[in-house]
Symmetry: C2
Subunit: 519 residues, 2 copies
Amino acid sequence: MGISGMAAAAEPVDLDMVNRIRQEAFHRSQVMETFSQLTETIGPRLTNSPQMARANAWTRGKFTEWGLANVHDEAFDDFGRGWEFSNASVEMLSPRALPLHALPKAWTPGTPGPVEGEAMRVTIKAIGDLDQYKGKLAGKILLLDEAREYKRGSEPDSERHDDTGLAELQTFAVPKDQTKDRAKRIKEFGERRALAKATNAFFAAEGALAALSISGWDNGIIRVGGGGSRKAGEPIGVPELAMAAEHYNPLVRAVERKQPVRLRVDVQARFTDEADQPGYNTLAEIPGHGAKAGEIVMLGAHMDSWHAGTGAADNAAGVAVMMEAMRILKAVGARPHRTIRVALWSGEEQGLIGSQAYVARHFAAYPEPTDPAQKALPASLRESTGALQKTRDYDRFSAYFNMDNGSGRFRGIHAQENLAAMPIFEAWLAPFHDVGATTVASRNTGSTDHVSFDRVGLPGFQFIQDRLDYFSNVHHSNLDTWDHIEPEDLKQAAAIVASFAYHAAMRDERLPRKPLLEN
Amino acid sequence: MGISGMAAAAEPVDLDMVNRIRQEAFHRSQVMETFSQLTETIGPRLTNSPQMARANAWTRGKFTEWGLANVHDEAFDDFGRGWEFSNASVEMLSPRALPLHALPKAWTPGTPGPVEGEAMRVTIKAIGDLDQYKGKLAGKILLLDEAREYKRGSEPDSERHDDTGLAELQTFAVPKDQTKDRAKRIKEFGERRALAKATNAFFAAEGALAALSISGWDNGIIRVGGGGSRKAGEPIGVPELAMAAEHYNPLVRAVERKQPVRLRVDVQARFTDEADQPGYNTLAEIPGHGAKAGEIVMLGAHMDSWHAGTGAADNAAGVAVMMEAMRILKAVGARPHRTIRVALWSGEEQGLIGSQAYVARHFAAYPEPTDPAQKALPASLRESTGALQKTRDYDRFSAYFNMDNGSGRFRGIHAQENLAAMPIFEAWLAPFHDVGATTVASRNTGSTDHVSFDRVGLPGFQFIQDRLDYFSNVHHSNLDTWDHIEPEDLKQAAAIVASFAYHAAMRDERLPRKPLLEN
């Protein structure tokens, strides 16, 4: 018998409470009502947009209605300006009339009504590439990318883990040395930022009407993030859109065979603030009882989204599941020893900004760099600025559980190299083997808000989920909508989160930690 | 050894000519120039649209440039009116602002500029369902379909035949008796037509602003055909569009939860004729030489298309391949015994209309019914009207080869139950085994223009092709565009068609026929 098996036998599981949680989660679920409200009534929730503010307000209202405590928004500084769009259209006027499918990049300006101009291909890979276009861009609609060959599908576009896939997840790849990469990544980060700024300023100064880039995916899917700049005072460039590959490629081919292409672009988009604004996370609690009431278990998911779809799998699904877990715990009358706190993050899509600010304020942070060059880097690229500075709550913190790998069913959890946590998770998962959640993997996973905890040595975890069509159809695309999720998967996830939160809150000890490797 | 193997040994193949054809097809191909002109410069080619007329003219020009003879358009009567659209947009105005992706159905009217109204769900399955909506539709935008659950992909969206698939194609399913089905199909056809007419008239009379239906496929793909009516004097209804499922479903869900949804619809579409017009097939020949010059081998593909994409796989691919086969034969200096004639059909998408009219005029037809009820039926549903009436050329006809199963590589040919043709095809295919075309299947295949020949007992054939993403992404959809085809597949197909045409034209005998089962 392995160590995890041995230890799991010793970890207590309250099966009566699991029973109650499962009944509430499976038979009196409200997760789809929550999910529908977020996606179809509120819609996408770009950080600092009016829709994100509506989501903050609506979720606060729901938490209050459910009887949670300390319901509030917590600001994080200096995110930038809000932005929203209400409509966008691109038409080909010649050589033939045709509506083209495109959506605007966030934080780029709208057009002053419809504008018309000739399509022009530009190739800009470095600041030095701009000069050749001086005096040539006025009145033009720029094609930023080359045509891209269609990538034919070789796998089904939706997928659930099978036994082989789950077994594979239980292997751990000993990491390569990454020090050499770091200098390169810092250099590239700086170059990218400088190029974007210079290009935005140049396009606007030269009087280009708009700019088009190719969607990252084929099959008419529009995958789009941000452009311009969210920071007040920085150049925002010209109206910029991502276009379906099947519509973009023909424009490039026509221009390359010297066939004039005339386009009309109409983007109704606006910045909703003149000055930079803080972003807002929404928080709420079920207070603990007794001696451990000052200790904390956290659940969370980012509520902000990109704007092309409705932010459904990314990440209304996670928000609805975390909210539902809190509702279930209230509904079953849970009286946890530790406080269970839920956080609905903002600014995740721009670099885990909301969760990182929250962790820095409440638990631990490295000193802010004084060197402006270091200050300009994202936290993951900065050099050491000294020892980690911890708050009182650092040692009172037990664990953070996150959901942000699409909407697919939970199949287990990534232990994030915390081997001491594995037998505990195995015990907690046992009552959910029958609904497909079986696997505790030692692997790290990244790119979402548990990293903000993990980075400062706090136990932060992300569940293993079925992929479904997250990385083929919906991630950051116009297809990230209600119809691509599975209600049963959200119910299952909510039950597991509620049970994990409850057991973490009731356990004798806080969750064990892995050694912190300081920056 | 099987019979096909025995006979194949006896069928002569001119490998010197095959060499010349392959060199021209593979190394001096013009198939992509032709294909690009049809799809990207001309665009989609709805039957009787101005773009179809441009395609007729351009292909005539090309045939003339290549030195073909008897280049001309041939009219077929009474198709209906032309129609085209230049732009279409649907916006949600409330509960939130959002551009929705939709394209108009052919032969439905445009809007008189943008129109705004409330979305309303209607359920119309029979004429009796209309009454309940009397006086209630004015100013409304109608949702014709219920919401549809997302269908998750379980297979790759693109596929080529493997050995198992090709072997499976060589089995033949002995057909079930279809007489009973026929009466049912006639009844349903009549009911569908009557319902469409009544509904179109009712919506217009009631003052509905527009009507929306759900696209037949998910993942944002818009699959759309015709609505309204192409026939002058028939009710054309109101502006009608097919909408991406991910945008349509939320409208229905909102209406069902009593949330008012306000939409703006703007469709720039028009009928290009007041009265019904004939359609036009384009024809051209390489005249035969000697005693068999009066005998005929035909190649063909339909040039008309639906309008959502650019009619690329359906069927600029087939047209480009058939044109390229003719060009190759001229380029290699072929002097065929029989005349090789190419036909670029129109009206295929509305029921093989162009090819059927052509076959009736030039080769054979059943007498036109006098009963108006029978007259109203498509030919495939009519009762017997007497013996087949044949022209002089009926017996001079050898074979017709068609391409219309998308753009995928040729893997062989359907022998359409003509067992005597199979060993001949096996011999002709042998020099193309190395490029993947190996399989002669006894199976019938339908739904395209070779059926117009087959129905009157003339040998008409359709090649076996790799499916690629024809039935997952492109068929009749906005993704039926340049990027979804493979240039190498078109080159391969053109070589095979040129060689088949040449060998059919040079063979001692015309192609054997299977017995004609008269209606």
